[in-house]
C-alpha cells in the first residue's frame, strides 16, 4: 500500500481534476482571500485621504504612518499566533510596559552596553513573561482569557512597583538607539524594516512549518488535534512564548520611538491589538487568518487615526469607526460560515 505506485491513468485523472491553479482560480483566490477586504479598505482609505490632502503621502507623511504602525504591527503579529491557536493574550500591554522600562533601565545603568545586547536581553525577558502565560494556560487548563487578564494586572503591578514615579526620557538612551526610529533606508524607517522582516519570518513559520500548521489545526478543532497526535500543550506554550518575545521586541522599539517610558507605558494597547488582528481576518475562535492579514489590520487601524486627523474629523468618530470595522470583520466571517453550512445542507438534501 504505497502512494508511489501511480499509473499513467492516475496522472490523467489528476490533470482532469485540475488541481493546478490556473489564472482564473488565482484571481478568484485573491478576491476570496481573508486578507482581501482589509487590504482593499486600507488602499481606499489612503487614496481617499490623499485626494483630500496631498501632504498625507509626502515623504514625512509616509514615514509617520509607518512609524505609528510599527509597534502595533509587531504586537498584532504575535497576538495572531496566539489567537490562531484558539487562545488570546490580554497581557501584552503590560509586557510592553515592563520591557520598555527594562530597556530604559539597561541603558541608564550600563551606558556602554551594545544596542544589540539590549535587543536580545529585553526580547528574552518578554519571551519569559509570555512563557509564563503559556505555562499557566497549558498546565492550569483555564481559558487564556482569564489567565492573561490576571497576568495583565500582575505584570502591570510589577511595572508600578519597579518604576514608581521614575520615567526615562530620550536623553537617557544612546543617540544611535533613538536614531533607529528616525533614520530611513529607501524611505522606510529602520524599525519598520525590522518589523516587516519579523512579519515575513513569522508568516513563513505559520504557513510553511509543521509547528505553525499545528497551531492552525489546534485552533480549528482542539479535540481532533489531540486525536491526530498533535502535542497541543507544547504548541500552545510555544505560541505564547513567541508572542511574549515579539511583545518584548516591541517594548524595545517603543523605547526607541517614544520620548518617555514609565509605569503606564502600553496601558490598554492590548484591545487595539486584538482589534487589529480581527479586522485583519484572524478568526477570533482560531483556525484561520494570517499574520500578514493581522499586520495589514494594524496598519489600517493606525492609518485611520492619522487619516481622520488629516481630514479634521472629530476624535470620537475614530473609535466608532474602529468599532464598526470590527463588527464588519466578524459579520463577514459569520456570513461566509453560514453560506458554507447552507451549501452543505443543500448538497445533503440533494443526496437524500
Amino acid at each position: 500500500m504505497s502512494a508511489q505506485e501511480i499509473s499513467s491513468t492516475d496522472i490523467e485523472a489528476v490533470l482532469a481534476t485540475g488541481s493546478r491553479p490556473t489564472l482564473m482560480t488565482a484571481v478568484k483566490r485573491l478576491l476570496t482571500a481573508r486578507e482581501f477586504p482589509v487590504t482593499a479598505a486600507l488602499v481606499a482609505l489612503v487614496l481617499f485621504t490623499y485626494a483630500n490632502n496631498q501632504l498625507f503621502l509626502s515623504r514625512q507623511g509616509v514615514k509617520d504612518l509607518l512609524l505609528n504602525a510599527t509597534i502595533v504591527i509587531l504586537l498584532a503579529v504575535g497576538q495572531s499566533i496566539v489567537i490562531i491557536s484558539r487562545n488570546v493574550d490580554l497581557s501584552i500591554g503590560s509586557i510592553l510596559g515592563l520591557t520598555a522600562f527594562a530597556t530604559g533601565t539597561l541603558f541608564v545603568n550600563n551606558p556602554d552596553i551594545p544596542i544589540w545586547a539590549v535587543f536580545v536581553i529585553v526580547s528574552l525577558f518578554g519571551a519569559l513573561l509570555g512563557a509564563l502565560n503559556g505555562l499557566l494556560v497549558t498546565v492550569a487548563r483555564v481559558p487564556a482569557l482569564v489567565i492573561t487578564l490576571g497576568t495583565l494586572y500582575v505584570f502591570r503591578g510589577f511595572n508600578n512597583l519597579w518604576a514608581g514615579p521614575t520615567q526615562y526620557f530620550a536623553d537617557d538612551r544612546p543617540d544611535a538607539f533613538g536614531d533607529l526610529s528616525v533614520d530611513t533606508v529607501f524611505g522606510l524607517p529602520i524599525i519598520t524594516l525590522g518589523a516587516l522582516l519579523v512579519v515575513v519570518i513569522v508568516a513563513g513559520f505559520m504557513g510553511r512549518t509543521r509547528r505553525g500548521r499545528d497551531l492552525y489545526a489546534i485552533g480549528s478543532d482542539p479535540t481532533a488535534a489531540l486525536l491526530f497526535g498533535v502535542p497541543v500543550g507544547r504548541r500552545v506554550f510555544l505560541a505564547f512564548a513567541v508572542n511574549g518575545l515579539l511583545a518584548g521586541l516591541a517594548g524595545v522599539l517603543y523605547a526607541s520611538r517614544f520620548n518617555s517610558v514609565g509605569a503606564t507605558t502600553g496601558n490598554g494597547i492590548e484591545l487595539d491589538v486584538v482589534a487589529a488582528a480581527v479586522v485583519g481576518g484572524v478568526a477570533i475562535f482560531g483556525g484561520s487568518g494570517t499574520v500578514v492579514g493581522a499586520a495589514i489590520g494594524a496598519m489600517l487601524l493606525t492609518t485611520i487615526t492619522s487619516s481622520l486627523t488629516t481630514l479634521r474629523v472629530d476624535k470620537f468618530w475614530q473609535q466608532a469607526i474602529v468599532g464598526v470595522l470590527i463588527l464588519a470583520a466578524i459579520a463577514a466571517d459569520r456570513i461566509v460560515k453560514l453560506r458554507a453550512e447552507r451549501r452543505l445542507q443543500t448538497s445533503e438534501a440533494h443526496h437524500g
Binding site: M1, A3, D10, A13, V14, T17, S19, G207, Y216, G352
Partner: protein, 511 residues
C-alpha cells in the same frame, strides 16, 4: 462482488484480539470480546446496540485499554496506551462522522503533522497537493485538495480519512458504521474503494446495521451479543435469519413490572410528519394509559421524531395533534401548554441543571404556579419538591445537595419528577434507563407503568430490546427515517422487531 478474496495462506491474522474484558465501574461493557482480522479480507462486526461493538473498536483504536486481553497486531503482542500507539501499529479508524479540521485544506487534513518538507525544512505545498491528488486519483474520486474541509459532505470527509489511512500505509482499516449518513451512490463509491484496498492486501473491519451491506461487501462476519463474541461465519454460508437469531437470541429473563392499564382516548395523533432526510411520513397515535415504544437502531430517526413532537425541531409536512388540537411546529412552549413532558436522552446536558439543588431542579417546571407576585414562595416550593421526591423514592442525603451528587438512576428520577410535577397528559421519554444500574432500572420501569395506569400516555424511545418488549403495549419500528412496522405487544418478538429495524423490505406483521 467480483472474485474470491485472496487466500491468506500461511500468514497469521493481521490483528487478533482474544478474551478482551472492559469494565467501567460496575458496568461490564465487554465481557469476552474477540475479533480476528486477516489481510486481504473484509470482516463484518454485527450486534445489537449495547452489544459491545463500540467498546471493542475503542480498544483497537487505543482509546480504551482493556482490563485484560490477548492482543496481537501482525503477530506481535501489543498494548496500546494512546491513540498514537494504535496509529503507529498501522491501524486506522474511519468513524461515522470523521473529525477533520474545518479551516485547513483537504490536502493538509491528510498530512497534518507529516507534511512533506522541501527547501530549508519548509513545507512543500506543491508536493503535498500533488500527493493528495494522486491519492484521490488512485481512489477514483474527485476532491479538490486545495479547498478547505469546511462544507464537505460526510461521504467526502470519509474518503479523506481513507486517503489519510492509505498515506500512512495502514494495514488495518476499521470502519465504524461508515454508511449511516451516506446516500446510495456514495455507499457504492465507498464500497468500491474498500474492495480495492482489500484486493491490495489490507485487513478491513466493517461495522454496519444493514444486513444487505454486510452480505454485499463482507467475506466473513462476527456476531456479538451482551459484550460477548457469539459466532464467526463465512458470509456465503449464513442467512440473515441465522444472524438475527444470534444477535438477539436470549431469553428476556429480566422482569418488567408491566401492569395492565385501561387505554382511553387518543392523546397524541401524529399524521404524516416529515423533516428533510431525517424522517419521512411518520404517522402514529398514542392513547391515554398506553405505552408506545419507538424502536429501531441508533440513527434511525427516533429521537428526532420525539423532538419534533415536543416542538424542539421543526417538521415540514404533516400535523401533530394533542387531544384533537393541532400544535405549531417548532414551539416547545405550546407543547408544554398542551400537556406534553419530555425527558431527553442526555439528562446531564438537557434534563438537569447539574450544579443546582435537587429541590430546585424538581420545581424548575413549577415556577409559575409556585410564584406569587413574581416571587417564588419558598415553603410551598420545599413541600412540592419533598412530595415528588418521596413519590419517586429519590435517594438523596438532602434536597439541598446538588443534583450532580446523585447516582444516574436517582438523577433520572429527578428528571421524571420535574416533569411529572406538571401533571402531563403525554410523557415522552428518550432512553429512560440508559446508564442506569440494573436495580434502579426496574424502579424506573415501575414508575412508567404506574403512570400509564393513572392514564398518562407514554411515548418511549428505547434501543434496548428487552425494555421495548417488556414495557410497550405497541411497538413502532423505525429504520432510516421511516416507520417500517407497527407490532402489537402480543405479536412482538426480538426477531420481528430486529428484522424491521435492519432490513429494508417491508415487514408484514399481523397487528
Amino acid at each position: 462482488m467480483e472474485g474470491k478474496p485472496p487466500s491468506t495462506g500461511n500468514h497469521g491474522p493481521a490483528l487478533s484480539l482474544i478474551g478482551a474484558v472492559k469494565t467501567f465501574g460496575e458496568v461490564v461493557a465487554l465481557a469476552d470480546g474477540r475479533v480476528e482480522l486477516r489481510a486481504g479480507e473484509i470482516l463484518a462486526l454485527i450486534g445489537e446496540n449495547g452489544a459491545g461493538k463500540s467498546t471493542l473498536v475503542k480498544i483497537l483504536a487505543g482509546v480504551h485499554t482493556p482490563d485484560s486481553a490477548s492482543f496481537m497486531v501482525a503477530g506481535e503482542s501489543v498494548v496500546f496506551g494512546s491513540v498514537a500507539d494504535s496509529k503507529s501499529a498501522g491501524i486506522s479508524i474511519i468513524y461515522q462522522e470523521p473529525t477533520l479540521f474545518p479551516d485547513l485544506t483537504v490536502a493538509e487534513n491528510i498530512y497534518v503533522g507529516r507534511q512533506p518538507k522541501g527547501a530549508f525544512g519548509l513545507i512543500d505545498r506543491g508536493r503535498m497537493r500533488d500527493d493528495a491528488a494522486a491519492l484521490f486519483a488512485r481512489l477514483g474520486v474527485r476532491i479538490d485538495p486545495d479547498r478547505v474541509a469546511e462544507g464537505l459532505s460526510i461521504a467526502d470527509q470519509q474518503i479523506i480519512e481513507i486517503a489519510k489511512a492509505i498515506s500512512m500505509h495502514a494495514q488495518v482499516l476499521i470502519m465504524d458504521e461508515p454508511t449511516a449518513a451516506l446516500s446510495g451512490a456514495e455507499v457504492d463509491r465507498l464500497f468500491e474503494v474498500v474492495r480495492g484496498l482489500r484486493d491490495e492486501g489490507a485487513a478491513i473491519m466493517f461495522i454496519s446495521h444493514r444486513f444487505e451491506e454486510v452480505f454485499e461487501l463482507c467475506d466473513r462476519v462476527t456476531v456479538m451479543r451482551d459484550g460477548r463474541h457469539v459466532a464467526d461465519h463465512v458470509t456465503a454460508d449464513v442467512t440473515i435469519e441465522e444472524l438475527v437469531l444470534e444477535m438477539v437470541g436470549r431469553d428476556i429473563d429480566q422482569l418488567f413490572p408491566k401492569q395492565e392499564a385501561e387505554t382511553g382516548v387518543v392523546v397524541l395523533d401524529v399524521e404524516g410528519i416529515s423533516a428533510g432526510s431525517v424522517f419521512r411520513d411518520i404517522s402514529f397515535t398514542v392513547r391515554a394509559g398506553e405505552i408506545v415504544a419507538l424502536a429501531g437502531l441508533v440513527g434511525a430517526g427516533r429521537t428526532e421524531v420525539a423532538r419534533a413532537v415536543f416542538g424542539i425541531d421543526r417538521y415540514e409536512a404533516g400535523e401533530i395533534r394533542v387531544e384533537g388540537r393541532a400544535l405549531q411546529s417548532g414551539s416547545p412552549q405550546e407543547a408544554i401548554d398542551a400537556g406534553i413532558a419530555f425527558v431527553p436522552e442526555d439528562r446531564r446536558k438537557q434534563g438537569l441543571v447539574m450544579e443546582m439543588s435537587i429541590q430546585h431542579n424538581i420545581t424548575l417546571t413549577l415556577r409559575d404556579s409556585l410564584a406569587r407576585f413574581g416571587l417564588i414562595r419558598r415553603p410551598e416550593e420545599s413541600a412540592a419538591a419533598d412530595d415528588w421526591a418521596k413519590r419517586l423514592q429519590v435517594k438523596a442525603g438532602s434536597m439541598r445537595h446538588s443534583v450532580a451528587t446523585l447516582s444516574g438512576g436517582n438523577q433520572q428520577k429527578v428528571v421524571l419528577a420535574k416533569w411529572l410535577a406538571t401533571n402531563p397528559k403525554l410523557l415522552i421519554v428518550d432512553e429512560p434507563t440508559r446508564g442506569i444500574d440494573v436495580g434502579t432500572k426496574s424502579e424506573v420501569h415501575r414508575l412508567l407503568s404506574d403512570l400509564a395506569v393513572r392514564g398518562v400516555a407514554i411515548l418511549m424511545v428505547s434501543s434496548e430490546l428487552p425494555e421495548v418488549l417488556g414495557m410497550a403495549d405497541r411497538i413502532l419500528v423505525m429504520r432510516e427515517g421511516r416507520l417500517t412496522a407497527e407490532i402489537d405487544r402480543v405479536d412482538a418478538t426480538s426477531e420481528n422487531v430486529m428484522r424491521a429495524a435492519t432490513t429494508p423490505v417491508e415487514v408484514s406483521v399481523g397487528a
